[in-house]
């Protein structure tokens, strides 16, 4: 009797499973038809790539991604955003999880060996975010004895400790938002990463923070593409077009205009 019941439940589950699988295969079918473009962005970086509570996406990277996708001939509803955390970016491009990536993705020689890059579409620099009323932190070499926060696995904090302020104490978290919490509470004195990412947090909490404004590195943000992608030249053209027709500036002002951070000059696209 009991066995029969279990068998019936198992049967029902199997049926439900196969139904769900059918629903799934319909979706992927349309993807394979080339109707959609899957773009990897950050979901957790306010002002750059952010998934809002209502499911919408916002940010500078998102607006640039939409501009490029439109230029490639995709409609708004054909764009599918996928979360690409830093460690996944190369893998996602290689295995086809995404078609391109705009996720504060710095162009480096190591990465160039793995994937192709269009752009750069933005030149960021490592900078410091401090509380708005802080006056004694003026740059990377004024951090001796201070507490500095960054995310695990990123180079900025180590760079400061090795090359600028050897007496700085490091706090590493797995996300930047934890650094922001600690900065608000006064447990750390400064956080460091690319200035445009910091601008996103300054925008999120208006008036609470300021960017020190002494960038000490150069990060060229590129559009990550699978190796040998045919769209690279086209995307480079589109990036240059966005500099000229004002779309680039608009994307910045819409997302980071209130942060107190000034938009730099557009970079030169590197057609390697």
């Amino acid at each position: 009797m009991k066995l029969k019941k279990i068998a019936a439940i198992a049967g029902a589950l199997a049926l439900a499973g196969s139904l769900a699988a059918c629903g799934g295969s319909d979706d992927t079918g349309s993807d394979a038809g080339g109707d959609k473009i899957k773009i990897g962005i950050k979901f957790d970086q306010p002002g750059l790539g952010f998934k809002e509570a209502d499911g919408d996406y916002s940010g500078f990277d998102v607006d640039m991604a939409e501009y490029i996708a439109e230029g490639l001939g995709y409609d708004d509803d054909q764009i599918q955003f996928v979360e690409a955390v830093s460690a996944n970016r190369e893998t996602f491009l290689k295995d086809g999880t995404v078609d391109m990536i705009l996720a504060t993705y710095s162009i480096t020689d190591e990465r160039k060996a793995e994937v192709d890059f269009a752009g750069p579409y933005y030149v960021a620099g490592q900078d410091l975010l401090v509380k708005a009323d802080n006056t004694d932190i003026t740059g990377p070499d004024s951090l001796n004895g201070k507490k500095l926060c960054s995310v695990t696995g990123s180079t900025p904090a180590q760079n400061i400790k090795d090359n600028y302020s050897k007496q700085a104490q490091l706090q590493e978290f797995d996300t930047y938002s934890k650094c922001v919490t600690a900065l608000q509470g006064g447990q750390i004195d400064a956080m460091s990463t690319d200035d445009i990412i910091l601008a996103g947090y300054a925008e999120q909490f208006p008036g609470e923070f300021k960017i020190v404004g002494a960038p000490f590195s150069e990060e060229n943000y590129g559009v990550g593409l699978p190796k040998g992608s045919e769209d690279r030249d086209k995307i480079n053209d589109l990036i240059e077009k966005s500099f000229e027709d004002g779309a680039w500036e608009e994307a910045f002002n819409d997302n980071l205009g209130e942060s107190g951070y000034q938009l730099p000059e557009p970079p030169t696209v590197d057609r390697y």
């Binding site: 970016r89 695990t152 400790k161 490091l170 919490t181």
Partner: protein, 233 residues
């Protein structure tokens, strides 16, 4: 192989930090686990309730949350080290001890339950006989029941300790680093994966071997000890 020339010393430092984390957490977890087990079998109802409350709370909360609470709750909100301006303890020490606290409390609940099942393997007649010759509750537990209980649960206890060694990786959520800024093993692994994305498989192998070097001896030692100290009945 240039992975070793570039990161060799950092990998070693990372695993030494992980080992330090594991030794302190393991010691405190075993001690606290024994105390909790005594609480849970004690004749005093209040102690039994306290023991049960601690075990049910921490055994059923994800370690990530416990770890996160230790730093963001206890240190940032409740200021257990004092207000942020007056804390003199270095960040690396502060985070290290918070990780030890979280790991010890969390693991001690598992130690407690293993020990309690060990206590149940000691025949009831033993405790009754001990009481009959006039031993008090604490003498009974200390001299008769606990020694036998411990000896019968060495293997499951080793499993708990092995799990704890692997759980030290959760410390990355609150950023446990050495004074020179080297992460514990899982943070070091993330750093290397970020910097050398084309060597992920090799990095993965290095770190899993590193952990096996720490956990395998625990298992072997427990296997040997449980034979040597088996209770013959």
């Amino acid at each position: 192989m240039d992975l070793f020339s570039e990161y060799g010393s950092a990998i070693l430092e990372a695993f030494l930090l992980t080992l330090r984390l594991a030794v302190f957490s393991g010691t405190f977890a075993l001690l606290l686990g024994v105390v909790l087990a005594v609480f849970r079998v004690s004749p005093v109802p209040v102690l039994r309730w306290i023991g049960a409350a601690i075990v049910y709370t921490f055994r059923n909360t994800p370690l990530t949350l416990v770890m996160f609470f230790a730093l963001f709750g206890l240190v940032y909100q409740l200021h257990i080290y004092g207000p942020p301006e007056e804390v003199t303890l270095s960040l690396s020490e502060q985070n290290f001890w918070m990780a030890v606290l979280a790991l010890s409390v969390y693991t001690s609940t598992f130690v407690c339950e293993v020990l309690r099942s060990g206590i149940n393997t000691v025949p009831l007649g033993q405790a009754e006989a001990a009481r009959a010759v006039g031993l008090t509750f604490s003498q009974n537990l200390r001299l008769i029941v606990l020694p036998q209980a411990l000896r019968s649960v060495l293997n499951p206890l080793a499993s708990v300790i092995i799990a704890m060694i692997k759980n030290t990786t959760v410390a990355v959520t609150i950023g446990v680093v050495t004074a020179t800024g080297v992460n514990e093993a899982s943070g070091q692994m993330r750093t290397m994966m970020e910097n050398e994305p084309n060597q992920i498989v090799l990095i993965f192998i290095i770190f899993s071997i590193g952990f096996m070097l720490m956990t395998l001896p625990v298992g072997f030692l427990a296997g040997w000890a449980s034979k040597k100290f088996a209770v013959i009945r």
